[in-house]
Amino acid sequence: MKRRYGASPLHLILHVALFAAFAWVALQIADARAASNIVLWFLAALVLHDLVLLPFYTGIDRAAKRLTSAARVNYLRVPAALSALLLLLFFPPILGRNEGSFARVAGTPPEGYAERWLLVTAVLFGVSALIYLARAAAAARAS
């Protein structure tokens, strides 16, 4: 068994259990509203992360490493990564994408998110610059 299958029988049993649970969910989903849209989102989530988002940010990171020295890249990389994380999570109000749906239920549209995100981004890069300057000054004194 182990030689042909490649793992213990327990491995097979547990996987069959997962696939059975998944099949049960698939049957429930089939009856739900816009079932095909759920499947589409599930597949899009996989493809967009693994084949778009990850190559995109690792590509930018490589470019940044070529742009500056390895010792200094983190002063750019850290604030950029944090700012990008905030944009990824909070893009609906930052880019004004949820204005209509938000205003419909809450009465007023979300306001000032782009400005506050830019402010946080400015502070992140500003703090990074201060640390860079402080370390550069300390290194200059030491030498």
Partner: protein, 420 residues
């Protein structure tokens, strides 16, 4: 039988030499996985608790069709104490869910070479494992994406969020459990080889790649020189989580943190979940003609707002907490639900209550309260908040406020209460 693919990997990411980060390796993936598991456990647990808090077995509460639901997991009714219970569990669900995203991204980054493993399938066991991983990663990304969008009231999808997020949670939980079981030996091996925390001691200068292992597929064959230490990467990930917590958590925790949560969807002190206009409530419906109808055993009692104001009033400071993760504590006053049960001729000690709103449409225009919720002395049909009549958007002429009840079940613009 010959494999349908060439023995040598095609150029690009399928080649071991393509992946060069010196930080990737079994220890890093095990450590990120451990942190992510801790966070997602909180999110999963509080998520299923929220499902239970909606009491889907009562009345018309079920949003996920009842014949397509798992059997109730809680052996007891959703409690009313502590009154901040739902604010706490749901605040955790949403806030920790957001905070987990950088850990999820880092974890997926750490294992990306495995997606391009060559040969694509080496054994039947590995084929099943790859399908299980696709379910895990797909459901994880689906859950985080839909949850993050719903918390910001953004619906670029056509499906019902609650239904899809619930079934997504079942797939995610099951595939995560299996993944942890399958990977347990790998995790233990990585910790035994390198120590659990040992690799965090290394600064950039002393950061070494993990040993190359073609079968593991994580540590690179030709690592670059490191530009970041492992603790640097983990610090960035955790720092991202902390930043997200500050940007969002205030809408749940309240106080001065609310102002500091610059990107939280609900930054105001007393948010309106759904306006009267959105619920299609008009001034005529709530004007002098409004009556509260109490029903018990086919007997109807009709009360004006003045009748209600003439009953014994009680003032309670109670939180209201939305499934979207925000909460706020306000001082509500009104009539005890138990007194209304008595007025309807029901035994307040042992009765559930179907509350119906004036709202003409919507899944959440009705909610059924369990016996404990009707019985609790702090459960009110509120007429006022903070000493003034409710505004139309907060549910005038009268709304339900019950301790630890999910926000939307605190029905606004109440029209009818049926005790049974």
């Amino acid at each position: 039988m010959r494999a349908p693919w060439p023995a040598d990997p095609p150029p690009g990411p399928f080649r071991g030499t393509f992946w060069r980060s010196p930080l990737r390796g079994p220890w890093l993936t095990a450590f990120l996985g451990t942190l992510l598991l801790a966070l997602t456990s909180v999110v999963i647990l509080t998520g299923f608790l929220s499902h239970a808090a909606y009491e889907p077995d009562l009345g018309r509460n079920a949003i996920v069709p009842r014949d397509g639901d798992l059997p109730g997991l809680l052996p007891f009714d959703w409690p009313t104490s502590p009154s901040w219970l739902y604010a706490f569990t749901q605040g955790l669900h949403v806030t920790v869910g957001f905070v987990a995203v950088p850990f999820l991204l880092a974890k997926l980054w750490s294992v990306i070479p495995r997606l391009f493993a060559w040969p694509p399938v080496a054994s039947p066991a590995q084929a099943l494992e790859r399908i299980a991983i696709a379910l895990l990663v797909g459901s994880a990304l689906f859950q985080f994406a839909t949850g993050v969008l719903n918390a910001q009231i953004y619906y670029p999808f056509k499906f019902n969020f609650v239904v899809a997020h619930y079934y997504g949670a079942i797939v995610f939980t099951a595939s995560l459990l299996l993944h942890v079981l399958v990977k347990l030996p790998t995790i233990r091996h990585a910790y035994r080889e390198r120590g659990v925390l040992q690799p965090l001691r290394a600064n950039l200068a002393s950061t070494e790649p993990e040993p190359y292992d073609p079968d593991g597929g994580l540590a690179p064959e030709h690592p670059d020189k490191p530009t970041l230490s492992r603790r640097g990467l983990l610090g960035l990930t955790a720092g991202g989580g902390a930043l997200v917590a500050v940007m969002l958590g205030g809408q749940s925790i309240g106080g001065p943190l609310r102002k500091l949560s610059l990107l939280a969807p609900r930054r105001e002190g007393f948010p309106v979940n759904k306006t009267a206009k959105a619920a299609e409530i008009t001034a005529e419906m709530t004007g002098d003609g409004w009556r509260l109808e109490l029903i018990h055993d086919g007997r109807k009692t009709r009360l004006t707002r003045a009748d209600l104001a003439g009953m014994e009033q009680r003032r309670e400071s109670l939180p209201i907490a939305c499934v979207e993760g925000w909460s706020t504590t306000q001082s509500w006053s009104g009539v005890r639900l138990a007194d209304l049960a008595k007025a309807a001729g029901a035994d307040p000690e042992n009765v559930t209550c179907l509350v119906e709103s004036l709202q003409p449409a919507g899944v959440l225009r009705t909610a059924t309260l369990n016996g404990g919720q009707v019985r609790d002395d702090r459960s009110l049909l509120a007429l006022q908040v903070n000493g003034a009549d409710l505004s139309l958007d907060h549910g005038y002429p009268a709304r339900i406020i019950v301790p630890a009840l999910p926000g939307v079940h605190n029905t606004k613009w109440v029209a009818r209460m049926t005790f049974s």
